[in-house]
């Protein structure tokens, strides 16, 4: 399948909404918790069992992004978005069948395995194309798409809850909700499939920079460079630090101020979690766009350095100031989102656009690792501190200092990033072949 080439006069501003239609859809994965209580009561499941489709989905996201990246580069964004649409929607349809027949394994297979493949392929599908269309502002372009992944949960969470309220929380109501999700997301994602195009030229913005300026490195060579592994550590540490707060946000703010004259209520804690989601989303577009102005290495210095400072402030201030706690947590979460959104542009700076989508896919294994590491550290330490008779903010003090240490490791890894050795660049004949193929495409 050859990638769809833009006809003359095609606007690059059609590509971000194409990317958003996919990312806003697959971001639904983070709203899975809405389905957990109804599934538990309708099918008699435990909390661990009802979390299985989400966990398998995230594992499949990492695996399909890592192993499917080269296929995405070869077949182009339309192929990738079609695969994402088919997998993500059919995952819901399989789950609908599973709920209707009360066969839980079908829900795990549908939303977990099949839908998870859609998540991974969909996540990386527009990255390389956006960078090629916006060589002058790659951070902003990928920031828009990756912001959509955060936005997907904001849309799905109230929407799915309202649907379950209307259809009922028994197995037939859940089945109907899954069916509507599958069909609606298929229609919504179709816009991306229909609109996405690769640029006709390597210079889509007139006299602006070319998409193939600078070194070009294949995905196979990229994973053999220290730069790839430095960025892997940077992403892993930044995400671990963010997830550490995100995963325990509600109990954390409640515990922190439990011994003060103004404890935090359950509904206020829910509001805090929502505010963190907003900071996460704003960071994706805001910080990633800022990286176009101040450079990728500098923005990661901010994420990791100022992030560590924010954690230190939380740890040192303890329960003395609620506004300071909230402000620091918001900044940390904005850096968490920014770290996700800026990484494709950082990869483009180091490895070029040649196979940046495939390299990004391989790097996302850092996300999967952090997804396990972050919650593990915070939960394990909080449990140990509680067992030791501690309470309030002291439950989290050690976790906070560990997060500072992790961010320091990420900071050092970022400092070690240097331009890629020319021996890893693709040889000139391969570059010429690629240029010839591009010219042929335009004719």
């Amino acid at each position: 399948m050859s990638p769809p080439v833009a006809p003359p006069g095609w606007s690059r501003w059609l590509v971000p909404p194409a990317a958003l239609s996919v990312h806003l859809s697959i971001g639904q994965a983070y709203a899975w918790s809405v389905f957990k209580p109804p599934l538990e009561s309708a099918l008699g499941l435990s909390g661990t069992q009802s979390a299985l489709p989400f966990q398998l989905g995230i594992v499949m996201l990492g695996l399909s992004a890592a192993f499917g990246g080269t296929l995405v580069e070869r077949n182009g964004p339309r192929w990738a978005m079609t695969v994402a649409l088919v997998c993500f929607s059919s995952g819901f349809l399989l789950s609908a069948l599973g709920a209707a027949t009360e066969q839980y394994w079908l829900i795990v297979l549908g939303c977990g395995f099949v839908g998870g493949i859609g998540l991974g392929i969909g996540y990386i599908s527009p990255v390389s194309t956006l960078i090629k269309w916006f060589p002058d502002r790659p951070g902003m372009a990928t920031g828009i798409a990756i912001m959509g992944f955060g936005g997907g949960a904001l849309i799905a969470s109230p929407w799915s809850a309202q649907m379950l309220e209307s259809f009922g929380s028994d197995s037939s109501g859940i089945a109907l909700a899954f069916l509507v999700h599958g069909l609606s997301y298929a229609v919504f994602m179709l816009l991306g499939v229909l609109l996405v195009r690769v640029p006709r030229t390597e210079r889509p913005v007139g006299d602006g920079p070319s998409a193939v300026d600078g070194p070009q490195v294949s995905a196979r060579n990229a994973v053999r460079t220290p730069q790839f592994w430095c960025l892997w550590i940077v992403l892993c540490m930044n995400v671990t630090a963010g997830i550490g707060i995100l995963e325990k946000a509600a109990p954390m703010i409640t515990d922190f101020f439990a011994n003060t004259s103004t404890p935090v209520s359950v509904s206020a804690a829910a509001g805090f979690v929502a505010l963190l989601s907003a900071a996460n989303m704003a960071g994706r577009i805001g910080w990633s766009s800022t990286s176009d102005l101040i450079g990728r290495k500098n923005i990661y210095r901010v994420y990791l350095g100022v992030g560590a400072l924010m954690y230190a402030l939380i740890a040192l201030a303890g329960d003395s100031s609620k506004p300071l706690f909230i402000l620091c947590a918001l900044v940390i979460l904005s850096f968490y989102g920014g770290g996700f959104a800026t990484i494709p542009a950082y990869l483009k700076d180091l490895f070029g656009t040649y196979q940046v989508g495939a390299i990004h896919g391989r790097l996302l294994t850092a996300w999967s690792t952090a997804g396990v590491l972050g919650p593990l550290i915070v939960n394990w330490i909080a449990d140990r501190q509680e067992a030791a008779g501690k309470d309030g903010s002291s439950l989290y003090t050690m976790s906070l200092f560990i997060m500072i240490g992790l961010l320091a490791v990420g900071f050092v890894a970022n400092e070690l990033v240097r331009p890629v050795d020319p021996r890893h660049h693709i040889p000139a004949p391969a570059q010429k072949e690629k240029e010839a193929a591009d010219v042929q495409r335009q004719q």
Partner: protein, 44 residues
């Protein structure tokens, strides 16, 4: 070199507007619900 972005035909402007509304409306709904929930931090 042709500039794909600099010379957008009028017909495409409608398509651009449609595409952004397509993704913008659900996102606005999600943001509205988020703001409604976030205000609980100050009122709850």
């Amino acid at each position: 070199m042709s500039s794909d972005s600099n010379s957008t035909p009028p017909g495409r402007r409608g398509l651009i507007a449609f595409a952004w509304v397509w993704v913008g409306v659900p996102l606005a709904y999600g943001l509205y619900e988020l703001v409604r929930k976030a205000t609980q931090l100050f009122t709850g």
